[in-house]
Symmetry: C2
Subunit: 246 residues, 2 copies
């Protein structure tokens, strides 16, 4: 449990490669994660080729980890392999629908997170790129993802070349509810977000962006309504293209 307690996301990596045997052991062992009906509804695309990283970078808004990490992993919800298996076995697959996308996404994220936990236990550093579902259409073209395959998470992996401060987390009572959901009063919000709002780095961030509150950093700059709505449309159109939505 201690290495999880001490973990931090790593965005800077040594030039040192990840030995194929280590990566393969991690990819194998992670497959012990829970999976629906033991179908393993995921695929992972391993990117080591610098040319491929350069192609992927714009789809990830040119975050530097994409080209600097020795390995990039794109975890995909995959009902294609299972469906092809069915077709070769006189069985008619019915997985071109939204529920199947969610089922496969859950499988995929349990696999991805098991990989990350194990990788960190081995001393590797990882970073999730949330951008994967911002422009999944670009990733599909670059990685040649066929119908019933949808990218849901990308992780950069490498040997750490930094040791950043551990970020704050909300107190447990902010996200754990006993028996039923207990809604938040203004006083709850003040108490639960007090630490986060008081941190010097967050106050500095508010100041240099000429904002009044930390929350405005999120709503006005980092995750705006306009961006969210545009990317929702892209995401839904891509689900249709991949056969997961009518």
């Amino acid at each position: 449990m201690d290495y999880v307690k001490q973990r931090r996301t790593i965005r800077k990596y040594q030039k040192r490669d990840i030995e194929p045997n280590l990566l393969n052991t991690l990819l194998d062992t992670s497959a012990r994660a829970s999976t629906m009906g033991n179908l393993q509804l995921y695929s992972v695309i391993v990117t080591r080729d610098p040319d491929m990283k350069a192609k992927l970078a714009p789809a990830h808004f040119n975050q530097p980890m994409v080209t600097q990490a020795p390995v990039l992993l794109t975890f995909c919800a995959d009902f294609r392999r299972t469906s092809i298996w069915c077709e070769h076995r006189k069985a008619e697959p019915g997985y071109d629908n939204f529920l199947s996308f969610l089922n496969a996404s859950i499988d995929t994220l349990l696999y991805a997170q098991t990989f990350c936990t194990l990788a960190e236990e081995q001393g590797l550093g990882i970073c999730y790129l949330g951008t994967t579902i911002y422009r999944p259409d670009l990733l599909i073209d670059i990685l040649h993802l066929p119908r019933l395959v949808m990218p849901v998470a990308t992780v950069s992996v490498g040997w750490p070349d930094e040791h950043p401060e551990q970020p704050d987390r909300l107190p447990r009572e902010a996200f754990v509810h006993e028996e039923t959901y207990h809604d938040y009063t203004a006083e709850d919000i003040d108490r639960l977000y007090a630490l986060k709002e008081s941190l010097p780095e967050n106050r500095h961030f508010v100041e240099i962006n000429h904002k009044e509150t930390l929350a405005q950093i999120f709503t006005d700059i980092r995750y705006t309504r306009a961006d969210n709505e545009a990317m929702s449309a892209t995401c839904l159109a891509t689900l249709k293209r991949q056969g997961f939505l009518e």
Copy 2:
């Protein structure tokens, strides 16, 4: 890494309770998982009350783990707490859309899977209930989940009272692709599914269900097109009800 290699899903639990301190430590430590913008877009509802378990059971198709496990955890994608925070801080949240549901779901599943890995490391046994997204509407009513909160995974947790055989997994080449997705030929499928199809328990399962192939067990009995399409409609309608879809 060894306890992940040796893990198996546990569906039978001792009557022994889970000490609140242990559960809280696991819930706290799991919050170290990666999270978008450090927003922790999740909530977890802890069910210990037998009456609540009895209410939840039908929503989970009366799987016995729901009433027999000492603790049931319902992990929810949650943009409500963040949105309320914004509203109290002169910030206008724009998270009532599909992308925000996916972002929160990813956060939620990374948290849930970190919890499961840590719980197993402590000797606890867990089982994911895939039924959570089959009838999310029922769970929302029972757990009083408000707008912008959507259940995505339920896990039963307890001290193991069984030691089942470890199930098979596909070989790595079935789900790992180098640089680009490599599609599957009939020969690939034969090779990759040979072990699974040869297992005595799977052959037995095919026989007692009077089917011709193992794949037909999935398409005709366990995960049928009709069920998937009906539950897709429920799921999409529930996302609309919770404010994540127009």
